[in-house]
Amino acid sequence: MEGVLYDGLPREAAKELRLQPQGSEEARAFVSAFLKRSMPKKKDEAIRDALTRKAVVLEHRCARRKKPKRRKTKTFTARQRRELRLFEIEPEQQRYELFLPLHELWKQYIRDLCYGLKPDAQPQMVQSKLLKADLHGAVVTVTKSKCPSYVGITGIILQEFKHVFKIITKDNKLKVVPKINNVFRLETDGFISYIYGSKFQLRASERSAKKFKLKGTIDL
């Protein structure tokens, strides 16, 4: 270490600066004499201490142990899920007739849910069941909407996301209809229900567990 401090100046640099380089012994003697003169009160040991290199710790950080990341199973991120395209329906399969059996299944499911759907059944009971029911396969019509172009779209619900319905119409067109600011009309065996989409902005799985409260207005 001391060798680096007291190393001689390279000859070319010395010639440029017009200096006469000193040898290392002379340089060391000069430095100690200079220090003794500038700090007369300090003892020799103190001066020698100051010369020894001491590392200055600028930031004090203790190394944090990384918590082991708990991964129960190998799950995909949302992006990977979208790339897998599990939920996309190909154009060849976008045919209304293909989904009619699904609609029949759904009707049966609702009938079972409501214990038969007799004409004298109470509408409240049917409605409370429908609130928690799964709507995949229901035939639905948009009755009221803040945007007039959505009014009149009729079809079978293929997919229900948090904010939209994917509906296939009789013309084999897949329409994406947002739930917000829309009123949907659902018909089951003579019971007509109106779904106010603005209050329905939940994933189908979460809706079964949610308690609905009367909040705000149903005015669009």
Binding site: T143, S145, K146, P148, G152, L220
Partner: protein
């Protein structure tokens, strides 16, 4: 003074546009203004220094045509291809929903240019499913929407998507039904009449009601045709004339008698007293073409020398009409006036005053 009282004393916003021109000038726009104002419910003619119905007016008043009242007509019948072909394309067809209030209910109107205007409230707009725009006179949250459908558009043929959608919306989704006032004007070739077309609905043909009266000892302001603003001692301005005319047509006493508490209005100075003045009032659904004929006959009145210096023709529009001039929106705030007034002078100069209320666009 508290705020409500102050608001009662302020007059609501109104607009009066005054124009000057010469009836025989080639670029005179008097006929164009009359034609643009489609729906007229009352026409009044005031001729000073005249006691009886003048010869020139006799034929014009007799030939006012007739209008029809149809009860319970659905709007989709006006959109039907047959109707468009027989009436809208051949001649000018006027239709206005009757007994509806423009600020509360839905209204429909068919302009002679072939445009169907539906002025609907928010719930109806959301259920109907036809694209429109919010009205210019609703606040931040629009409560009123205007839907315009062009029936003479080339893309509006019976097989087109547009036509199908309009018919579906008006027939099945949300049927709209009104009592309509109808009138049809076609120059020349006879086609089937409205009476026979709507024979299945309750259609009734009516003639406009005409009344005459003679006013005695009337104070008339002195006017000079080239001075719209009026000179202080020589003639009155257009605003003063307008107010005076309103007072006369409403039979307000101009004496300012101290015992009367109804009005303190006086005839503006300078004025003259005329012995008699003839007032003719026509009420009904009057189409602009007839008014243009009436205007022409009134210009011919000054063909022979007469005592009168000027005469006036006032036309009132419907307070509940959704449009005022052309397709300008018309609303009802505290009054739904949309009227215009011609003052025709001896030398065939004319003054045209167009007056509108609060929720109205400026006339062209």
């Amino acid at each position: 003074m508290s705020a409500p009282l102050r608001r009662l004393q302020q007059a609501p916003r109104h607009l009066l546009v005054c124009e000057k021109g010469h009836a025989r000038h080639e670029r005179s726009r008097h006929a164009a203004h009359v034609r643009d104002h489609a729906y007229n419910c009352r026409v009044s003619v005031l001729i000073p220094e005249c006691g009886v119905l003048p010869q020139v007016l006799k034929s014009a008043v007799a030939d006012l045509g007739e209008y029809y009242v149809v009860r319970g007509l659905s709007v989709h019948q006006l959109v039907a291809h047959e109707f468009v072909e027989s009436f809208v394309r051949k001649g000018s067809c006027y239709a206005l929903a009757y007994n509806t209030r423009i600020d509360q209910d839905n209204t429909a109107a068919l302009l002679p240019t072939g445009k169907l205007i539906l002025s609907v409230d928010k719930d109806t707009y959301e259920e109907l499913g036809l694209q429109g725009r919010p009205s210019r006179y609703s606040g931040k949250k629009p409560m009123r929407y205007i839907i315009t459908i062009d029936l003479t558009d080339s893309s509006f043929h019976p097989d087109g998507k547009k036509h199908k959608r309009v018919l579906w919306a008006l027939k099945e989704k949300k049927p709209l039904e009104f009592d309509f006032l109808l009138a049809w004007y076609n120059s020349g070739a006879e086609g089937s009449t409205l009476m026979s077309y709507f024979s299945k609905n309750q259609i009734q043909a009516l003639k406009p009601k005409v009344t005459f009266s003679t006013l005695r000892d009337l104070q008339c302001p002195v006017l000079q045709s080239n001075e719209l603003q009026g000179k202080p001692e020589e003639s009155c301005s257009t605003e003063e004339l307008f107010e005076w005319l309103g007072a006369v047509l409403n039979q307000v006493n101009l004496d300012n008698v101290s015992s009367s508490f109804l009005s303190t209005y006086c005839c503006p100075q300078p004025n003259t007293i005329v012995d008699q003045a003839f007032l003719c009032t026509i009420t009904g659904f009057i189409i602009p073409e007839k008014i243009i004929q009436l205007l022409e006959q009134l210009c011919c009145y000054f063909g022979e020398p007469k005592l009168a210096q000027w005469l006036t023709l006032t036309v009132h529009g419907f307070a509940d009409s959704p449009v005022s001039w052309r397709e300008n929106e018309h609303g009802f705030h505290k009054g739904g006036e949309n009227l215009y007034n011609f003052v025709i002078f001896r030398n065939l100069d004319y003054w045209l005053q167009m007056a509108l209320g609060t929720n109205d666009d400026c006339p062209p």
